[in-house]
């Protein structure tokens, strides 16, 4: 689906979203009339200090306005922008700032939903789609924590060997399915049905607690994370 088709299907009652330099920011009318804040990255743009600050500011503005309408994050991005300037200026703080804004929104009763409709990778992924309460994917989305050729370089294994290994475990290879099995993506939407309905359904049943590790365990992609985290939590709670 193109971004226009997605926006049309998500917000049939209209939206006011600015699209500049690969960044999306604006608002949209939800089914039922609530006005959601929308941010995002399109066209596989990298996310650098300037973009992260702009999106972060948009989220904070929405929070300032109050209410309990959702914040929607649409993502088709590159990785974080890799440059000396970005690192010099402290890209980690800018990306974290955006992520903190999204997480705080959720904690303040503004459900956050990430919609991954294209590519994303590494730090850009963490700061946007993975900072939401719920992340869903559209068919064809290609999240990529680390691409196989880069992995091949570092692990000194061939891409063929890595591809073979990826058949037995979803834990390292790129792709929507692998990420879903490790618990990162809640569900993949059906583009042939109205996205607005699917969004409403997700908002209706989303948990405010972070349950991605439990989901990864259920789906077999992350066998240990949920249990380890829970054991540590219990021990630490008792010790504290």
């Amino acid at each position: 689906m193109t971004l226009d088709e997605i926006l049309q299907s998500l917000f049939p009652d209209g939206h006011d979203i600015a699209r500049t330099d690969g960044l999306l920011s604006g608002s949209a009318t939800m089914k039922g009339g609530a006005v959601a804040a929308v941010i995002g990255v399109e066209g596989r743009a990298p996310l650098g200090v300037d973009g992260a600050l702009k999106l972060g500011g948009h989220v904070l503005d929405a929070l300032e306005r109050g209410g309990d309408a959702p914040v929607i994050v649409l993502v088709d991005s590159d990785s974080q922008r890799m440059s000396k300037r970005d690192e010099l200026l402290g890209l980690n703080e800018f990306l974290a700032h955006l992520a903190k804004g999204l997480i705080l929104a959720d904690l303040r009763g503004r459900p956050t939903v990430g919609i991954l409709y294209g590519h994303t990778a590494a730090g850009a992924f963490i700061a946007t789609a993975l900072a939401t309460r719920v992340l869903v994917g559209l068919p064809g989305a290609e999240p990529e924590v680390m691409d196989l050729p880069s992995m091949a370089r570092v692990t000194k294994l061939s891409v063929e060997v890595l591809t073979e290994k990826a058949r037995s475990t979803p834990v390292f290879a790129p792709g929507l399915d692998n990420l879903a099995r490790t618990g990162g993506v809640l569900e993949t939407w059906d583009p042939s049905k109205p996205l607005a309905d699917q969004l409403a359904a997700v908002l209706g049943r989303a948990d405010t607690r972070d349950r991605r590790d439990a989901l990864g365990k259920e789906r077999g992609g992350r066998p240990k994370a949920a249990d380890i985290a829970e054991r540590v939590r219990e021990l630490a709670t008792r010790a504290g």
Binding site: L60, M82, E87, K100, A173, D213
Partner: protein, 312 residues
Amino acid sequence: MSDLTPGGTSESGRGGVSWYEASARQRVRLLLDAGSFTEFVGPEQRETSPHLQVFDLPEQFDDGMVVGAGTLGGGAVLVAAQEGRFMGGAFGEVHGAKLTGLLRAARDLTSTPVLILFDTGGVRLQEANAGELAIAEIMRAVVEARHAGVTVLGLVGGRSGCFGGGGLIAGCCSALAVSEQGRIGVSGPEVIETNRGVEEFDSKDRPLVWRTTGGKHRRLIGGADAFADDTVDAFRACALDLLRTTGPLTLDTLRNEQARLRERLDRFGACADARDVWAKRGVDDAGAVPGLPADDFIALAGRVAEPSHDAR
């Protein structure tokens, strides 16, 4: 297990022990009040990574992450430390889950501070998806804890620095203490050079690497709140100090951060080099900064660096 001993560095007193050289276990034990540390899910439980076998790689009994509770200056704290020498301190499934669990406990307890002793290159490649999600979960847990009123401090001064997702987690902390060796960033110099070419970033130009990502630059640009000499004692003093001065995460905090980062972009966005940033910051002899001893640098940073409290 309160007395895990690392191989490598002297046990005689914490003052002279180099943070950079110490192991994760040694940092924890010497940072906290003597004998106060209790580990959770320690190495004897052998909760190793379930994924390294696939790559025929050796496991470590604690998966490179030490978590537990103790006291600092008499007050209860939760603490987590990454072992930067095991797989570059990278986040894997178990490694990350321990920290997630610790932060969730802090959130539930609402008042016990958390110290995170970073030493990481980012996501562990061999379990990239698990590592990426672990980082996302940790960031969420940090913000939840801080929102509940918990102070989360990051200490950075290890040989792997604090890169990739580690840099983003650091950016979520209430405050950071950093030493000269403590590099903080997202894309490491080698990664930038590989992707963008040596003209963009020469990763072999070590002075360039250090002044762009190192602790002194982070302190001067406002990316860290305190600068520590490379000793366990210095980090302890910084931690005690920062615990007294930090508050909860609120919308105002992020508003202030928005303004702080906006100002940074406006003032320094056109700087080509860290030395230009420092000069604009008001440092008279920017070229001398890398060579300054810790005390002199701390005095300098006290004069010119912005107070960043409640803007992080």
